[in-house]
């Protein structure tokens, strides 16, 4: 089992979005960009997703390894608003090798900061819960 937490200043994300045109496409997937841009305070949603990506990497304990990109951690929202984590590429393969059953994520944001926490549940532990 692994746990990760991260906090991000909203102003920093706002600054990066306005100054560097590639920031969004390097860090976020097309689905994440569409979702956040559809929200009233999009910078808060981008910041929350960035914090979520960091917390997932911390919980997995591997950081952005060789060949792993920011977009390999995708944070999606269900219709109910509950976020879920979708891993891609090399990162997904590493998670499979680490026997990750699922990753639970939670985040929150206000005018100044966004926070996120991720919990990695391994297959063995998940079986224990089910029993």
């Amino acid at each position: 089992m692994g746990i990760g937490i991260d906090i991000v200043p909203i102003s920093k994300v706002e600054d990066l979005v306005s100054k560097h045109e590639n920031f969004l496409t390097i860090v976020f997937t097309a689905r994440e960009i569409t979702y956040c841009k559809g929200k009233k305070k999009s910078e808060e949603h981008f910041a929350a997703r960035f914090a979520a990506k960091e917390s997932v990497l911390k919980a997995l304990g591997i950081g952005l390894g060789k060949g792993i990109e920011w977009t390999d951690v995708e944070i999606l929202s269900s219709n109910s608003g509950k976020p879920r984590v979708c891993l891609h590429g090399e990162l997904n393969e590493i998670a499979c090798k680490k026997n990750v059953e699922k990753i639970v994520i939670s985040f929150s944001h206000c005018e100044t900061h966004a926070v996120a926490q991720a919990l990695v549940i391994p297959k063995t532990l998940n079986r224990r819960y089910k029993n």
Binding site: L16, G61, L64, G65, K66, I94
Partner: protein, 134 residues
């Protein structure tokens, strides 16, 4: 592009991104421990370097320097701690540091705290010379 020029670009970027005094930025400054940079600051710095040099740097490339040719499985054990083989590689990058003292707790986060300005200057320098030769 010479290493001295790249260092000036990195230093200028760090002064703008972190608001640090330029006298505090040396080749041996570590981004996290000495300068207090967070991951968003590093992204900001990488974008600024790209604007000045046309060379794109990713965090993945930073990891490549720290990890060498070892795979994730060879570099980290099941608890996310750097393996003896990984430690040997990192020690070569930092010959003046005694890593054995922190070996048991050298995880991903601590590993990034060892990344210095010199490592970044080397990455940019290597990419610059490769693009010149292409």
């Amino acid at each position: 592009m010479e290493k001295e020029e790249i260092f000036e670009v990195v230093k200028e970027g760090l002064v703008e991104v972190l608001g640090v005094d330029e006298d505090n930025v040396t080749m041996d400054s570590s981004f996290y421990d000495d300068l207090g940079a967070e991951s968003l600051d590093m992204l900001d710095l990488f974008f600024r370097i790209e604007k000045e040099t046309n060379i794109r740097i990713s965090r993945s490339e930073v990891q490549k320097v720290l990890q060498g040719d070892l795979s994730e499985e060879e570099f980290f054990d099941e608890n996310g701690i750097v393996t003896p083989a990984g430690l040997e590689h990192v020690q070569k990058l930092l010959p003046d540091s005694n890593l054995t003292e922190i070996a048991e707790e050298l995880d991903q986060l601590k590993l990034f705290s060892l990344f210095t300005v010199r490592h970044l200057v080397d990455i940019v320098g290597d990419k610059a010379s490769k693009s010149r030769n292409e």
